[in-house]
């Protein structure tokens, strides 16, 4: 147990923050001491009442990935004269770092990202909640009907925790999706049906099917295109 000081007055008992490896940060004008070797998001998450950093693709059990960008904050390494945007889930805490989690620029950026996510996944509850919090009403774009935000948590859990890598993110850009190798579990036989992917999914896009295997989200709009493309490129066995 170590003591962490907020503004030099209030102190909060926290488990981490060892004195030897202490790093001093300023988060939203509050001076705090945290243990080194962690990211801004990890540090702030353990500090009730300090900062407000939403995150979608972050989960403490797997390595940070930096895909959703909703945790973006402004940081300054030079005492506050120059600020830059960084992903809090990946940026390591450093001595003297100034972090701002709620500036107008940050709010605007998060709003923009949420608008894009809401347009992709208008029916996802977690995204709807964030939209409400950040004041996004109706996206200005054509609405999609997907459930998957491509946070990659399922893939990382399968790889890092289960050690199976039965699913992966395939294709790129807007065509990216979660899939088993060659779109078929039976080909690799790696899926053990543990349900970890469905458990960790923040949007409920993965459900366990009657055969004990997860039903993966499909990229609904362009998937037909991909299928057609794959059919066209398939070379008949000689």
């Amino acid at each position: 147990m170590a003591k962490v000081w907020i503004n030099g007055e209030t102190s909060v008992e926290v488990k981490h923050a060892e004195g030897v490896n202490a790093v001093h940060l300023t988060v939203d004008d509050k001076d705090i001491v945290v243990s080194g070797g962690q990211t801004i998001l990890q540090a702030v998450e353990r500090m009730p009442g300090i900062g407000n950093i939403p995150a979608l693709c972050y989960h403490p059990a797997v390595k940070p990935y930096g895909a959703c960008r909703i945790c973006t904050v402004e940081v300054s390494e030079d005492g506050g004269s120059k600020f830059k945007f960084v992903a809090a889930c990946l940026y390591p805490v450093k001595e003297g770092l100034i972090v701002k989690t709620q500036t107008e620029k940050i709010k605007k950026l998060r709003k923009g990202i949420i608008e894009l996510l809401l347009a992709r996944c208008p029916n996802v509850k977690r995204v709807q909640e964030l939209a409400k919090e950040y004041g996004v009403e109706k996206p200005r774009f054509v609405l999609g009907d997907q459930d998957c935000i491509l946070c990659g948590l399922c893939v990382r859990a399968c790889q890092e925790i289960i050690g199976k890598s039965a699913i992966s993110l395939v294709n790129r850009g807007i065509y990216k999706e979660v899939a088993a190798p060659f779109y078929a579990y039976e080909l690799s036989g790696d899926c053990i049906g543990c349900g970890d992917c469905a458990f960790v999914c923040p949007t409920g896009a993965i459900e366990m099917g009657p055969d004990g295997k997860p039903v993966l989200p499909k990229v609904k709009i362009p998937y037909a295109e991909i299928e057609a493309m794959m059919k066209k490129e398939t070379v008949p066995p000689s």
Binding site: Y65, G66, A67, C68, R69, I70, T72, F85, V86, A87, L90, Y91, P92, K105, K108, L109, G112, I113, L116, L117, A119, R120, R140, F141, V142, I149, L150, G152, S168, L169, N171, R172, G173, I174, Y175, K176
Partner: protein, 626 residues
């Protein structure tokens, strides 16, 4: 077998003195007054038939038994791609352009044997109508400073002796035996060299941080994953002078203490891959790579890694992920790759052109190098000048030259007497610069100020018939296909930009679209994970900044002023000008044109698919495009 080993041992150069004596003996063996036919074997010249020309030369020389008098050499890209295939006859440097296999007999007969010039193959400067006989007199070359690219047209890239004869690997010898690693880094720092891949980061600083980084294993990487539409300078350099890149890499490796290097080159560049492979093999044979380089005790090897052609793999962290055998996705670089890169080891990654600059700096000194260029950007830069320009090709110019000099003096201006409209610099993540900024000196900082960037040196010139909204749409469409899809702003944001721009070009634009585009641009630049996303909005922002009226014409008046966007133009026939020749009527693929002979024709708008065939074939300019 014994013979082979002996040959191999004889080829090995064991010391700097031996390198110099080897160079002297190569030069002595070669008679510089002997006639040598050098054919450009760059990709562009090959595409216009250079290989058939080489074959024809070999054939003719053998048939007429001229092997003793004449030698033949296939070199790298000369740069004047517009006029390929290029043939230069040494030693006088007689310059023939657009040479075809059927011209070969005449060249041999007249020039080689008769000492006469084949007039019809000479280059005529279109601005002055002057016929130019010798290569150095071609205005396209005269206004360039070809410090890196100059050797390309003179050496056979598949023969290391050509490179050694031209003084190659002397910088390596100097670095290994006369300089300490710190001195080398100091020299590179002092030269002011900045990364030529696009970022423009100070090269010396990068080297230093990699040298200081903790770790026994360090890597040196050459980024040859050039993928910008219209850019091919890295390709041409690696194809035409691979040893200069290798030499730079070996010096860099020695400076940071690395023993292993990689060339990451895209598989779509087969010639670059092949020439790099041959260069590595030959350098190994000569003891310039491998164990105990030049007898210095320093070991270094280079491996080629062929990329799958993803644009994003030109981004350093994605490139390293791909090198590791993983999906080519960028990662956050809050800890620099020079400290924690490939397999989490310190890794020094530089662009092809950056590496090729290094031997020059070591040989001629940082002070000499720093004299070229502007205050913030030193040295020369190779640009690929493409698009609506008379002299398409690769040009090497000192930093600080104006866009106008580059486009009009070297590039020869816009073809067909058309007006200049904009130049897109820096590839898909760069911006479009309009005419009023043509006198801007070209360097890293000035281009950034204009909302564009240096990038890897792409320069696409556009004439008055270009629709800037369509250009923005094109680049966004390109990036949409090349975004890796990892982060939300890039994946979703570029896709939405593409939707909006397509709508605008189809006449479905809304007045609020410009604001939405700018909002999306803000999300991309602040929120995207890597430079691809962060700069993706540049083509949109710069065209809105400089050509807003064109956007407004598309959105409000549903007109495309340049007459490019199909949904917004209409073809009609001017009855006064139409002679009733039936040409357009026959050409029209949908039968939309009707009319009798010698009577004015008309176009049925419902049937017209706006292919423009009638517009192209009409000899009387009677078809109107509005």
């Amino acid at each position: 077998m014994v013979e082979q080993v002996r040959n191999l041992l004889e080829r090995r150069v064991e010391s700097p003195q031996e390198l110099e004596s080897r160079r002297q003996s190569i030069l002595a063996e070669r008679d510089s007054s002997q006639t040598c036919i050098s054919v450009c074997g760059g990709t562009a010249c090959r595409a216009s038939g250079a290989e058939a020309v080489v074959d024809a030369f070999i054939d003719t020389i053998e048939r007429r038994e001229l092997q003793v008098q004449v030698s033949l050499k296939e070199t790298g890209c000369h740069g004047f791609c517009e006029r390929g295939p290029l043939v230069v006859i040494e030693p006088k440097k007689v310059f023939y352009q657009r040479v075809q296999p059927e011209d070969v007999e005449e060249i041999i007969e007249e020039t080689i044997l008769g000492g006469r010039i084949v007039e019809r193959l000479l280059y005529v400067d279109p601005t002055t109508d002057k016929t130019i006989t010798y290569e150095p007199d071609v205005p396209f070359y005269q206004k360039q400073t070809r410090t890196i690219f100059g050797a390309n047209g003179q050496i056979d890239p598949t023969n290391i002796e050509d490179y050694i004869a031209a003084g190659g690997y002397s910088a390596l010898a100097k670095a290994l035996f006369q300089m300490s690693p710190d001195k080398i880094i100091e020299e590179v720092k002092k030269s002011g060299l900045r990364g030529r891949g696009g970022g423009g980061f100070a090269t010396g600083r990068k080297w230093q941080s990699c040298r200081e980084a903790k770790g026994d294993v360090k890597y040196v990487i050459c980024n040859a994953d050039e993928g910008d539409p219209g850019a091919y300078q890295d390709r041409s350099l690696l194809e035409g002078n691979p040893h200069s890149v290798l030499e730079g890499m070996i010096i860099g490796a020695y400076a940071i203490g690395s023993r292993r290097g990689y060339i990451y080159v895209r598989n779509e560049y087969p010639l670059a891959v092949e020439h790099a492979r041959i260069a590595i093999e030959q350098a190994m044979d000569y003891g310039l790579l491998g164990k105990n380089i030049l007898g210095s005790g320093f070991d270094f090897t280079v491996t080629i890694n062929k990329g799958g052609g993803a644009f994003v793999c030109g981004e350093s962290s994605a490139l390293m992920a791909s090198l590791e055998g993983k999906v080519g996705e960028p990662k956050a670089k809050y800890v620099h790759m020079s400290e924690k890169g490939l397999w989490d080891n310190p890794s020094l990654l530089n662009n092809v052109k950056t590496w090729a600059n290094v031997p020059l700096i070591i040989n001629k000194g940082a002070d000499w190098y720093a004299k070229i260029g502007t205050a913030g950007s030193k040295g020369t830069m190779i640009f690929s000048l493409v698009g609506n320009i008379v002299n398409t090709g690769l040009v090497e110019v000192p930093m600080g030259i104006t866009l106008r000099d580059m486009i009009f003096d070297i590039g020869g201006g816009i073809p067909d007497g058309k007006k200049f409209k904009a130049v897109q610099t820096g590839g898909p993540s760069g911006g479009c610069i309009p005419e009023k900024y043509l006198d801007t000196p070209v360097d890293f900082d000035e281009l950034t100020k204009l909302g564009s960037m240096m990038g890897s040196g792409g320069m696409i010139v556009m004439d008055e018939d270009t629709c800037m909204v369509d250009v923005a749409r094109y680049f966004i469409e390109f990036l949409k296909g090349e975004s890796c899809g990892k982060c939300t702003p890039c994946r979703e944001g570029i896709n939405r930009m593409s939707e909006i721009l397509s709508n605008i070009t189809q006449g479905k634009g809304k007045p609020e679209d410009l604001d939405t585009l700018q909002d999306l641009a803000g999300v991309l630049s602040a929120g995207a994970l890597c430079a691809l996303g962060q700069t993706a909005a540049n083509p949109v922002l710069s065209t809105i900044r400089y050509f807003k009226d064109e956007y407004l014409a598309h959105i409000n008046d549903k007109k495309c002023p340049a007459g490019v966007c199909r949904e917004l133009i209409q073809f009609s026939i001017d009855a006064d000008k139409c002679e009733g020749c039936l040409r357009c009527l026959r050409e029209c693929p949908t039968g939309a044109i009707s009319g009798q002979k010698r009577q004015a024709h008309t176009i049925n708008q419902d049937m017209c698919i706006k292919c423009g065939a009638c517009y192209d074939v009409c000899k009387f300019n009677a078809v109107l495009k509005r």
